[in-house]
Point group: C2
């Protein structure tokens, strides 16, 4: 019997999940759930569209609900709410609020007898796993996370809010020299500015004061002030032709040692991603973990989980015998 | 209370485990167990040395026995035998025999109520995990494993058995062009020869026929015949000065896609290791998984396990709250 999946929220991430579910032979997409009028939502794969209000009537038709909302306001409310009815999974990434979110989802999921996986994707998610595995194997080492080259949607949005800006795309780019030092196991102390640069492409209104826009960008607190930022003004046509994708990626690099004194040996562990589409890869991670949520709940487990709590075998559609034979 | 560790076998790997256990604050090294006369075994950290025959009397003094033997003859016999008495862990790497070894350890460990983790280290081990995670997230992709640059002890031993050879060291080296194609997501079909080259350093006896030795190496079936192999004759002094370490490493690279038709997106996942000491890193992995073996058994679980069956959080000495706060 297939694992029956519902998708809540149909933006870039929801579309990524849809594509991932549709290539999993052990899954079936029950439908997409939206806060919009279903008649106005066109679904790429032709799956059914429902209004979010119909979810409570579908608890016997969905095994796992994949919640594709924003971390700022959607997920803190949605994930605990729907954990009262379904096994759920989200990509909550507001780091400081993870303990509260975990506690809220845990209480709801334990009460309902369901599983709620939070903070899944690639960071938090696959990158977190690699930080944990490396630190567990080589205690006392140091981890570095580099992001990019890739589009930061949050930073792109921040530029779009500046007066006179029509469209913007911001690329986060690791500093090659910093990457190189870390890969060599030198454990450098790096400031924010030394780790990443920010490259912006901006479509400005005709007659807008470009010098003022550039100044507003490079001095923007939290987003740009602590980085070396480059601003390029381009046409709307060039934006569409050259910058319509959402590539991303990055590396987690961990350097640790074994032995003591003159016999110290250094080991460098690196996990890196080069993604043509950030939302499609994130959707694929969520989908694999949805399989785990279903299986854990079938086995009687309940409550909030993160990628740390989930045995890798639970992600694979293959049997234990098959993965031992082909992947071990 | 500390996790009480025993080490069975005191070669390079046993020494690596000893170093790893000694930096884990939640572990205590009870002793090293050897088939040799304990009086002849000098232990680096000053831990107690026992004859292997005393193990059955120490079942209440050891929580996890880390078995550091060879895959050819030691582990198939030792791991099931000691799983009858202890939680055990090994680095069994004879791939074709994993199903039989797993079944033997599973039967013994289930009967005794213990955990037996097999095939742990970096390959099989951390590399296996990365093959599984990647294939689960992006079904239908292709994985490549490259080893090196690093010393292959099996290949070095094979050369040493040739008549006229005093000492030898063999480095496995990935072919840069092959690595590059794979990293670009091109999914090339690669023969054995196209993936790795083998570079050998040989100390020959005075007056030995070097041309004959070289010919015997490069034509040796299974070990060298399918590779481009380079043989360098060096002095015993140069061997000691330049080739006394046991560095190794390599990469698992997985390339997969999302989307269909014109909207296909390619994603490349790479996990790579650069290890100054292969046995010390392998020993560190075994030690982290020994912690998991103990915890799983404390929670009531029994039987054979691999890295696929073990939730990552079980490897860390930190609490769930701590890892969510600092690594997620």
């Amino acid at each position: 019997m297939s694992i029956r999946i519902g998708i809540l929220g149909y933006g870039n991430l929801g579309r990524g999940v849809e594509k991932a579910v549709n290539v999993c032979e052990d899954m079936e997409l029950v439908g997409v759930f939206s806060r919009r009028d279903p008649a106005t939502v066109t679904v790429d794969s032709g799956a059914a569209v429902y209004h979010v209000d119909s979810l409570p009537e579908m608890t016997d038709k969905i095994d796992v609900l994949i919640i594709c909302g924003g971390s700022a306001t959607d997920l803190p409310e949605m994930t605990p709410k729907y954990a009262e009815m379904f096994n759920v999974i989200d990509s909550f990434d507001t780091h400081a609020n993870i303990p509260v979110h975990f506690a809220n989802v845990d209480a709801a999921a334990k009460a309902s007898g369901k599983i709620g996986i939070i903070s899944c994707g690639w960071d938090p998610g696959m990158f977190s796993l690699n930080r944990l595995y490396a630190a567990s194997v080589l205690p006392g080492g140091k981890d570095y996370t580099f992001w990019g080259k890739g589009v930061s949607q949050g930073h792109s949005d921040a530029i779009r809010r500046i007066d006179g800006v029509i469209d913007a795309r911001q690329y986060t780019v690791p500093v090659p020299e910093a990457l190189e030092q870390v890969r060599e196991g030198k454990n450098p102390e790096l400031t924010t500015r030394q780790k990443h640069t920010r490259v912006c492409y901006v479509v400005a209104e005709d007659g807008a004061d470009r010098a003022r826009i550039e100044q507003e960008i490079v001095t923007m607190p939290n987003y740009f002030a602590d980085y070396d930022t480059t601003v390029n003004f381009i046409s709307a046509e060039e934006m569409k032709a050259e910058h319509s994708g959402l590539p991303h990626g990055g590396s987690v690099i961990y350097s640790g040692t074994t032995g003591t004194g003159e016999n110290v040996n250094t080991h460098v562990i690196e996990y890196s991603l080069k993604l043509d589409s950030n939302p499609e890869f994130t959707g694929s991670v969520l989908t694999a973990y949805a399989r785990a949520a279903y299986r854990m709940n079938q086995a009687g487990d309940t409550g909030a989980k993160t990628v740390f709590d989930i045995a890798p075998a639970l992600l694979s559609p293959l049997s234990g015998e098959e993965i031992r034979a082909h992947m071990l």
